[in-house]
């Protein structure tokens, strides 16, 4: 159910995300002070190539990572297998990526 290829994708996406998650937590701790607002978020991210790259990469990695993680759970705990399992994995990954890409676009260059 997890072969070498999926395993590598899972570990590689994890490695990529490790520094990104640390950065994300640091931003959250910083940004939460004094409450959240749309203006504050956009002020930080709008037009920024850095945040676009940061969160763009994050969304890509998390889509891969979550799709494979949910695939394992769907197989081990729900019993999904074969074609249904493949479809579930792809749908999860592409769905998350679409939603995530829209969010990143909205707060940077939209």
């Amino acid at each position: 159910m997890l072969d070498l290829r999926l395993y590598m994708a899972q570990r590689l996406s994890a490695l990529i995300m490790a520094p990104l998650v640390l950065g994300h937590i640091a931003v959250m701790i910083y940004a939460i002070q004094g409450g959240l607002s749309v203006a504050e978020i956009l002020g930080r991210t709008q037009g920024s190539a850095f945040w676009f790259a940061f969160y763009g990469l994050f969304v890509l990695a998390v889509s891969v990572h979550a799709a494979i993680g949910l695939r394992v759970i769907a197989h081990e705990w729900v019993g999904l297998r074969g074609m249904a399992l493949s479809l579930f994995t792809w749908a999860t990954g592409l769905g998350l990526f679409t939603l995530g890409a829209r969010a990143v676009w909205a707060v940077t260059f939209a």
């Binding site: 570990r11 994890a14 490695l15 995300m17 490790a18 998650v21 640390l22 994300h24 937590i25 959250m28 701790i29 910083y30 939460i32 002070q33 409450g35 959240l36 607002s37 749309v38 978020i41 956009l42 969304v59 998390v62 979550a66 993680g69 949910l70 759970i73 999860t92 769905g95 998350l96 939603l99 995530g100 829209r102 969010a103 676009w105 909205a106 707060v107 939209a110």
Partner: protein
């Protein structure tokens, strides 16, 4: 409550990693959808953010940050277990991962309130 018969520290670390990952994956669509409204519906997003002043919501946020941190540090332990020279102190490392996650999410919480 009786613990399940085969519960042991590393098994609990496994369950924690799986459940935190599952919860984060379920939270992500909501997170993405909310943010994508920054342009299309900034006012309704701001009124959503106003909710984050509620104590219950702050607690939920703390929970999410804890799940993220515990999945990160627990995951780093697993990467080290698989790719670095073997260490026999896996139980200690698993406990340390939870400890660091509590610290990190705790400092988020202290900044949130």
């Amino acid at each position: 409550m009786k613990t399940p018969p085969r519960a042991h520290p590393l098994w609990l670390a496994f369950i924690l990693h799986r459940l935190s990952g599952l919860a984060l994956a379920l939270f992500l669509p909501l997170h993405f959808w909310t943010l994508s409204r920054a342009i299309t519906a900034p006012d309704s997003l701001d009124s959503f953010f106003a909710l984050t002043e509620l104590p219950m919501v702050k607690l939920a946020e703390f929970g999410l940050v804890f799940l993220l941190a515990v999945h990160l540090f627990g995951g780093l332990r697993l990467l080290a277990l698989e790719f670095l020279p073997w260490s026999n102190s896996q139980k200690t490392l698993a406990a340390a991962a939870v400890g660091v996650a509590v610290l990190v999410s705790g400092s988020f919480f202290l900044n949130a309130i």
